[in-house]
């Protein structure tokens, strides 16, 4: 029996047991519009690719990681020094986490600027925003797990900020820390969030997000006319292009891990004083710097509480973008959303840089 015959036989065996004709049909008919903004479609796929990398490397790290105050740092040190390719897995996991958040932001803004959030894609947008929030929480919870000095104090700062949220702040902070302060209970709790609660929720949302994308197809920007849009078959034409982008990302991750291995630092010491200039991860820097700029009291309100309330309202307004950012006639709202997008990107970029520099 030749290889072709064997393949055909195996395919037929599968076909008899799993009726994949519907899937094949869907893939075969799926197309991707080709226009000046097509390149932005790749960012969604790249986010998915990096998420897959996170799951794979995360599972491998979990084989050795021990989530206790006395063993967390040592187990990561063991992974970095003794486990075969442990350094590579851990560095790729850390670099990929940061790249994933960056790419997710790029993907979100590409959706804003191409106005892909419009009807009937409101739910796609909402699941995407929820996924971005989950990614940020993934980053926040994962940052503490090596239990080193910087991550310990950054988590203290982060949970202190949460504690200042109006009404529910202290309860949220206590829930996150598992007590009054960051300690062993926080580490166990963050580990549970990071490897169980967040992945399960994220997988469900990713599934729903992809399902919605399949259902509605790829959005075409409003400035492209209703007719004459060229189409590219998703499989294999677009998929092969995505594969090229994923390989490029893989090479970049490998280079970052080999040339700039992710540092471990010193073990956390809760009794030591906080290192000078402690700050959260880069994706929280803009908010952190903004809170620093707000005076301690604004009229009768505490500055920090006001700031957190402001961020909450801003996030809510942003999440509800499809509901206020579209209009039936004219393009006034579209221009407003584009303007808001430019302001948001400028603010995040400028304040992240300022938060890093100052």
């Amino acid at each position: 029996m030749t290889a072709t015959e064997a393949r055909a036989k195996a395919a037929s065996w599968l076909e008899e047991r799993l009726d994949l004709s519907a899937v094949r049909e869907a893939i075969g008919h799926k197309t991707v519009p080709v226009h000046s903004a097509t390149r932005w479609y790749y960012f969604g796929g790249m986010t998915l690719f990096l998420f897959a990398i996170q799951i794979i490397t995360g599972i491998l790290l979990m084989l050795y990681y021990r989530p206790t105050v006395s063993e967390a740092f040592e187990s990561v040190q063991f992974i970095m020094t003794r486990v075969q390719f442990g350094w590579l897995i851990r560095s790729i996991h850390s670099w990929s986490a940061n790249l994933l958040i960056f790419i997710a932001f790029v993907h979100m803004f590409s959706v804003v600027f191409t106005h892909a959030y419009r009807k009937p894609r409101e739910l796609t947008w909402l699941t995407g925003i929820a996924l971005l929030g989950l990614m940020l929480f993934f980053g926040f919870s994962g940052y503490l797990l090596p239990w080193n000095k910087i991550s310990y104090f950054a988590t203290k700062v982060g949970t202190d900020v949460a504690a200042n949220a109006p009404l529910v702040g202290p309860a949220i902070a206590r829930f996150l820390r598992g007590g009054d302060d960051v300690g062993g209970a926080t580490l166990t709790r963050f580990f549970a969030f990071h490897v169980m609660i967040l992945p399960l929720t994220a997988l469900l949302l990713v599934g729903l997000h992809i399902l919605l994308v399949q259902q509605h197809g790829m959005s075409t920007p409003p400035w492209i006319g209703p007719s004459g849009v060229r189409q590219m078959r998703f499989f294999p034409n677009f998929f092969l292009r995505e594969l090229m982008v994923w390989y490029c990302a893989l090479a970049a991750l490998g280079a970052l891990a080999a040339i700039f291995p992710w540092e471990l630092g010193d073990k956390a010491d809760p009794f030591a004083s906080a290192p000078a200039g402690i700050r959260p991860e880069w994706y929280f820097l803009a908010q952190f710097y903004t809170l620093k700029l707000i005076p301690s009291h604004v009229w009768i309100f505490e500055g920090e509480i006001l700031g957190i309330l402001g961020f909450g309202l801003l996030a809510l307004g942003w999440a509800l973008l499809p509901f206020w950012g579209t209009d039936q006639v004219g393009a006034a709202r579209t221009r407003l959303v584009a303007g808001a997008g430019v302001v948001m990107v400028s603010y995040l970029a400028a304040f992240t840089v300022l938060g890093y520099v100052k």
């Binding site: 197309t31 959005s219 007719s227 004459g228 849009v229 060229r230 594969l243 390989y247 490029c248």
Partner: protein
Amino acid sequence: MRAPFIALLLAPLGLLAQQAAKNSCLNCHSALDGEAQRPALLIKNDVHTTNGLGCADCHGGDPASDDPGVAMNPAKGFIGKPARTAIPKLCARCHSDPNFMRKFRPQQRVDQFELYQTSVHGKRLAEGDENVATCIDCHSVHEIRAVKDPAAPVYPLHLPETCARCHADSKKMAKYGIPTNQFAEYQTSVHWNALKVRGDLSAPTCASCHGNHGAKPPQVESVAAVCGSCHVLFAQLYQKSVHEPIFSAASGGGGCIVCHSNHGIHQPSTAMLEGPKAVCSQCHDAGTPGAKTAVEMAGWLDGLDSALKHSESVLAEADKAGMEVSEAQAKLSDGRDDLVKARLALHAFQPVDMKKPIDAGMAVASETLHAGQAALHEKDVRRMGLAISVVFIGITIFAIWALIRRLEPKGGLPRDASTTPR
């Protein structure tokens, strides 16, 4: 109606209080010029003033009277400016009285005068030598501050200069025939560096070795004990060493100072063991077994020191390259401990005792060097692995691109005007 009546009743008490607080000494001396005015200006910072004592408590007289004839009447106990020979006893009236001193500070020492009488200063003063230091020469007069006051002349940071005011004065010291270079030498010492540069208040000053009120040079037999009060382990080893009886018999100061000197104690190094400035060569001629042992011990110390430094630099290079070497860096501190132990063991002057920490330190240096070199090698392997994988990824990307070109010949993508989901 009731208030004026109470005021009238309390008036005599007010007058009494005014009378008690009156200090005519201060009133008159404040109005005088020059030296006569000086005490009145200085006294406000004096620890005695802040504790409620006045001029008359030392000088006698009647401060309640504005008439100088009455205020400074010897019949009222006025003694004027006390003679220098009388000063220690005058201060001791209160400072040797535990019942009186307890009122101000329950734990205040009261043995200063007793100690002073045993000091070189006290003995000479008793013989009538007014040139020697009395209480006021160190503590100042009329502006006497508590020892813990950073502005006090006897505060640890200022004490060397206070002693040097007399002991660095060649004219003053001429008649005693003692050197005046102690302060200059002390300024070159590790102790001065600790005190003045690092601001370490526990660093030894003159009083730490000589005593303060009972100040005198330590005797030859007690030098090791004086140094050993801080350098405990060094002193213990030295006491058991072959050098102890020999150095104790040395004339002109023995013990630790034979090798380390006294006031100008410099940072010890292996140059003390070998080379042109070797202190061992003062007694052990070149080529003798003692000199050979000293050279051998210097070689061990230098060898371990440079081995540890080499390991440290290799680990630092690996660390800078992003390699995880914190475990080895922590281990390196064990090696540094061994070097300190070896330097300590040297004071027993038994090469066998010293070899133990040297060997342990060399083992640490070798182990950490190996870890650093392995990390650097690993770094190179990673870069090579990266280069190879990038080549393979590049080939794969090229292959995919070629496949796309095959799937989409010349004409490019088909044009499809059908309804596109929007």
